[in-house]
Symmetry: C2
Subunit: 353 residues, 2 copies
DNA sequence: TTGTATGCGTTATCAT
DNA sequence: ATGATAACGCATACAA
């Protein structure tokens, strides 16, 4: 491939002049500019990114460190990141599947000299250890960090508030026996949503019983498993709060396969409002989190920090959430008396309880 | 941050020696190696990626160019790409939302000198123009390209075969009036699936009527719109093939909201087998595409090409697909005589015809 | 307005 | 076994 020297030679000018033309410097004669541009086009010259960043110390790239989670929520965040970046002429360098501190640091290490800043998604308890060290090296934005870190920008979803809201909604709808499907251990979103659930119960004089706190890991399959468990319970809760929509999807599926009607038999609520939530049947009551905005906002914060140094000292923003009411929580509790719902079976009863 | 020179100075050796230690050269005394390693650790020295790639001409990074589409399928492909890459010590540089040739080329241009190769996802008719030019500059892998390009590696999903398969299944189930929800224009997957649909009909002596070919763009919302249209039809097809699962999700939702039972009233089939497909109710009959494997395979092909030059000349692999039968297509056509299904209503009939 | 020369942080070649 | 030094491709301070 042609280098800047090839262009200079063929245009009969110095490399400095070519560089000026390329970078839009005004101090160059129109005539020579035209000549250089012609050669650039003919040679199909593209500047070498690594060489550029080597002496400008700017890469126009943002590093993104992801945990192993997948699903629609994360993919929306990444879309937001990418779009926010491209709007400002940046690209994103991704490294994912980070379980422990070591893999995170290895990923970050490979980004040294290749990124202008770092966005770390959902570092859990285990991976938080490295964040402080990273912050010495790059400007760092933490998304939903397990706890605050000095020197890092942070954006958190209003998990606690959202959980309080949605559980409050279930309580106001008349439910007194409300279960929860928890998320992965050590995960901040999971912990905060659980805390909000317990808080809302306590606030209303209800007790949170361990028997109705079901294990989950944010995957559809884990929601399905919890759903099976619930369907076969002798005494079921009248409502279940799945701490993310993926698990709510699995939960709905398990309940319906076992002849438990939603919302008549059990009300179901989720969290995240992923795109398909409104297309489930029944439509899923959930807490809307604008994942796309979360990504975009993170990029903006990071890019802001790149312009004016030292603006990043432990800045912490909260992304608000919003309750979305759909059919899955519209239970008419008064008309349901027995432990099981009325006898009309679900469309595909494949088992019972 | 510390550079290799700082390390060399503090360790009392030359930069060459430090470089040897870092790159595991054997020609260095144990004693000096230990000394250098100690200094590296103390200074927290991390090599500068851009500088390394400047003279090795290796970046250990793969560029990924994405179209504007999103959804679970794409996010799975990206997971596959990322995991395939990280297993071989590579990272991926992402640039998405490419509508036309110009934005694609701009994205690619920003990757010059920063990547060892390129993976371009689903270039449609409009963006195909630039591929040949890209291939002169990087090793390029095309995923589901609109048409073959000389000099590019290619991996395509067996779209045509899958569509023939699934429509054949509907026909074998007794359906003679089968509709389709089409994908975006110019998109290869969409075109091939449509072609397969028509082929399967023709093969069985059925006619494809324009009236039963509904517009769509692979989004849930477009599937929902098509579903509304179908629900309100005077004469409905007895089965509908949505050309991806996202649209099938929207379709199911619209049908159920309008009191059309699936599969009793209408059988539904999708394409892709995204993770939630099995958790929809009814479970979605679809064509399984291993999106994760697609991504991983693309990386393998690209890395293979990086090792042995010239192995990439128009190599074309096909990713096989597999029919997945679930409840959404289990119609008992014989027992259904009228234009509407039997009287037992859907769980939430909010409208109907 | 243009050219020369230096340096960005590495790796690799060639001496020693 | 180790060190000096020339690239890698570009931007820029300084000279002209």
């Amino acid at each position: 491939m042609a280098t800047i020297r090839d262009v200079a030679q063929k245009a009969g000018v110095s490399v400095a002049t070519v560089s000026r033309v390329l970078n839009g410097s005004d101090a160059v004669a129109d005539q020579t500019r035209a000549r250089v541009e012609r050669v650039v086009a003919k040679l199909e010259y593209w500047p070498h990114g690594a060489a550029q960043s080597l002496n400008t110390s700017r890469t126009h790239t943002l590093g993104v460190l992801l945990p192993d989670l997948h699903g629609q929520f994360f993919s929306e965040v990444i879309r937001g990141l990418d779009q926010g970046a491209r709007e400002r002429g940046f690209q994103i360098l991704v490294s994912s599947a980070h379980a422990d501190v070591d893999t995170v640091m290895t990923g970050a290490r490979a980004m040294a000299g290749r990124v202008d800043g770092l966005i770390v998604m959902a570092p859990d308890q285990a991976t938080m250890a490295g964040m402080k060290q990273l912050a010495k090296r790059f400007p760092v934005i933490l998304l939903n960090p397990h706890h605050p870190v000095e020197g890092c920008g942070m954006i958190s979803v209003a998990n606690f508030e959202g959980a309080v809201d949605i559980v409050g909604h279930l309580i106001r709808s008349g439910h007194r026996s409300i279960g929860i499907i928890k998320g992965p251990k050590g995960n901040m979103d999971a912990e905060e949503r659980l805390r909000g659930y317990r808080h809302a119960l306590r606030k209303s004089g209800l007790e949170s019983t361990p028997a109705f706190e079901f294990a989950g890991d944010f995957s559809e399959a884990s929601g399905f498993r919890a759903g099976l468990e619930i369907a076969h319970l002798r005494v079921r809760p009248t409502a279940v709060f799945a701490t993310n929509d993926g698990m709510a999807t699995g939960l709905l599926s398990a309940l319906q396969q076992n002849g438990v009607l939603v919302p008549q038999g059990i009300a179901v609520a989720g969290f995240d409002d992923i795109p398909i939530a409104q297309f489930l049947s029944p439509g899923l009551t959930t807490v809307h989190v604008d994942a796309f905005a979360l990504g975009k906002q993170a990029v903006q914060m990071l890019l802001g920090a790149l312009q004016e140094e030292n603006t990043l000292v432990s800045r912490h923003e909260i992304l608000p959430v919003k309750l979305i009411l759909r059919q899955s929580s519209q239970s008419q509790l008064k008309t349901v008396s027995g432990p099981t719902s009325r006898s009309r079976a679900a469309s595909r009863p494949t088992g019972g309880n």
